[in-house]
């Protein structure tokens, strides 16, 4: 209980307050907003991004970053659509697409963990590379005509009102919480993020952990790409372009430090809700998609800037107090 109270006094409490304000604001704009269907729709519109945000949380806590996830999503979706178009069996296409996702992640992981290059540079390069790969498959065309069951799966509810992507997301949330907050692997993710040298000297296999994380990131991004293809029903070379902005914003806004070592899944869940509701609210206000992207960009910067400013203010106030105390002491002594 005291843990929860402590969390509410910090960043999570701030996020919860922001979330409540946005929900209240949206509800006052449109009465249908609070209905279950709207909430499912809300999730469904960005479901692929929020699935990837979960694994991105692991990566950033581990003091790395993966800029290539959106391109991986585009690449797997393109491979799937291209193989389907070329007349290969659909099951095979699904398996190959997922395999491409896993390999893309492992490729990143190899350069980062075993060659020792910074993830920022590697994933920036592969972000361009994987997107280029998607273009090689799709050129400037658009492929669709997936099997009916696949489109149904992406667009319609599976159990009750819930579509399959949302069910998967729920499952992943549970797994992510268990692994990150309650397992040994999760503790190692934090330790490596705090100080990789200390982690290495305490006998943690840092390289293997990083390789596993990036491979998982590729696999999940690949799955998200397939879900995205199912939801849209057609794929182009630029499918999912720019998604990394939303995904990284969700994670950093959730209180995960960009320098690694701190943050939690709970904070990220709150910030996911904030971003989803904010986008919904902006749509209610008739703001265009481009303007929404701009707002998300500002949110990304603010999510790092605000804690910095808070820290700076706290330090300044502390210094002032200390100065006052010492000058008072000097006056007393005098």
């Amino acid at each position: 209980m005291s843990k929860i109270v402590k969390a509410l006094k910090g960043w999570e409490g701030f996020l919860l307050a922001v979330l409540l304000i946005i929900v209240f604001f949206n509800a006052s704009l449109a009465p249908e907003y609070l209905q279950v269907n709207n909430w499912i729709n809300l999730f469904q519109l960005s479901i692929e991004k929020i699935i990837v945000a979960l694994i991105m949380t692991f990566i950033i806590i581990n003091a790395e970053i993966d800029l290539s996830v959106a391109s991986t999503m585009g690449l797997t979706a393109s491979v799937l659509a291209w193989m389907n178009h070329a007349g290969h069996p659909f099951g095979l296409a699904l398996a190959v697409a997922l395999g491409v996702g896993v390999l893309s992640g492992a490729f990143n992981g190899f350069w980062i963990a075993y060659v020792g290059l910074p993830s920022l540079v590697v994933t920036l390069a592969t972000m361009i590379m994987y997107r280029g790969g998607a273009r090689v498959f799709m050129e400037d065309k658009s492929f669709g005509s997936f099997p009916d069951w696949f489109n149904h799966l992406g667009q319609e509810a599976l159990i009750g009102p819930l579509p399959i992507a949302l069910i998967l997301f729920g499952l992943f949330v549970v797994i992510a919480i268990i692994v990150l907050q309650y397992s040994g692997f999760g503790r190692y993710v934090y330790v490596i993020g705090n100080n990789r040298d200390v982690a290495r000297f305490s006998g943690i296999n840092v390289r293997r952990h990083k390789l596993i994380l990036f491979t998982m990131s590729g696999a999940i991004a690949g799955l998200a790409g397939i879900l995205f293809a199912a939801r849209l029903g057609a794929v182009r070379g630029d499918t999912a372009t720019g998604f990394e902005l939303d995904i990284i914003t969700m994670v950093l806004l959730g209180g995960v430090s960009i320098f690694g070592g701190s943050g939690s899944i709970y904070g990220v869940l709150l910030s996911i809700l904030i971003v989803l509701n904010l986008r919904n609210g902006m749509s209610l206000l008739n703001l265009t998609g481009h303007l929404q992207t701009g707002v998300i960009g500002a949110l990304l910067i603010l999510s790092v800037l605000l804690p910095n400013l808070a820290e700076w203010t706290r330090k300044t106030l502390q210094r002032r107090k200390y100065q006052k105390q010492t000058s008072a002491q000097i006056a007393d002594a005098g």
Partner: protein, 352 residues
């Protein structure tokens, strides 16, 4: 041998290798593409190099301080579009004024980046990923879904990309190329001979040490971002002159071409080393590859992004593995000019 080693440091060797690579690539493509060495091809490549070269200079200034600026593509698009709109509505505006306007717009955007990175303490990748989206969304929002058309632009700006300083036969040496070369040369001199330039290297090598040596690193980094904005604004003007028709997607992805040129050109992405000459060679290599792929029938031109990404990865890996090994060799034999190189072989990768 020792004399030779002392004369040629690994960094210079790298530029030499780059030059050979460019030549080899051109020889290869000349066997594949008919009539490859045509004057037209030279003119086209040199004009596109001009645009990327100025951006590469901008990116180099930032990368030297161990930061990165991903927003330059959006700044180019923004300044090209609104410079074009202003010019389309005031046809008799003087050329100097419109250049100053585009540079001014770029400068404001650079100042925003610089303030957030240097004084806000937000990592440059986060800031510029955000402003990449913000500047582009402002462009789309304020444009009202209109396009700048060549028909509305004054004569002089349409003639500018075809204007020559001199030509040898059909080989034209364009004004825009001259402008880019002046920028490269100017910043080469700044990096080499001014205290500001040397401080950029100092901060990139070791920001703590630079701080303790009394360098105002925040201000230096801030100015680097402002200069990056200014040069992107200038590129916006060049982009407008070259293409004439400007839509809201103008300059999309140019930041990757610039990062590619810089990294391929041997500017260390961890900061602290690299030259403007290298960045220029990198820009040439990236553009020659790009333009040759368009004309090469055997391979679809859609491979270009894939190859660009792979090239960036390869250059960084080569930097980390081969260059460090070479420097270690030099340092071991005591041939190194700087003490710093003795700390090698492996510079641990810093995170994010």
């Amino acid at each position: 041998m020792n004399k030779l080693m002392r004369r040629f440091q690994p960094e210079q060797l790298r530029e030499f290798i780059l030059l050979i690579l460019i030549l080899l690539m051109m020889v290869f493509f000349s066997t594949q593409i008919q009539n490859y060495f045509s004057p037209r091809f030279f003119n086209r490549v040199s004009t596109s190099v001009a645009i990327v070269a100025v951006l590469a200079v901008a990116q180099t200034l930032v990368v030297l301080t161990a930061n990165i600026d991903l927003s330059i593509g959006s700044i180019v698009g923004f300044t090209a579009y609104f410079g074009g709109q202003i010019l389309a509505h005031n046809n008799d505006m003087s050329p100097l004024l419109i250049i100053l306007i585009t540079i001014g717009m770029g400068m404001v955007m650079g100042i925003i980046n610089g303030l957030l990175v240097a004084y806000g303490g937000v990592p440059s990748i986060i800031v510029t990923l955000g402003t990449l989206a913000i500047y582009r969304s402002m462009l789309v929002q304020f444009s009202g879904a209109q396009t700048v058309l060549t028909a509305n632009l004054p004569e002089w700006i349409l003639a500018l990309p075809r204007m020559n300083v001199f030509s040898i036969g059909k080989l034209d040496f364009r004004v825009m190329v001259a402008l880019a070369l002046v920028v490269v040369l100017l910043f080469h001199l700044i990096l080499k001979y001014t205290s500001y330039g040397r401080r950029l290297y100092a901060i990139g090598s070791n920001s703590d040490a630079a701080e303790m040596a009394g360098i105002a690193s925040k201000r230096i980094v801030f100015i680097a971002f402002v200069l990056s904005g200014v040069l992107s604004g200038l590129t916006g003007f060049m982009y407008l002159a070259r293409f004439g028709n400007i839509t809201v997607v103008a300059g999309l992805g140019l930041e990757f071409a610039a990062v590619g040129a810089v990294v391929v050109g041997g500017v260390n992405i961890f900061g602290g080393s690299g030259t403007m000459l290298g960045a220029l060679l990198g820009a040439i290599l990236v553009n020659v590859l790009d333009q040759s792929l368009i004309r090469w029938q055997a391979v679809s031109e859609f491979w270009r992004d894939f190859l660009l990404g792979f090239l960036i990865l390869l250059s960084v890996a080569a930097d980390a593995v081969i260059m460090n090994r070479l420097k270690y060799l030099w340092a071991k034999k005591g041939m190194s000019l700087s003490q710093r190189d003795n700390d090698l072989p492996a510079k641990e990768a810093n995170h994010v």
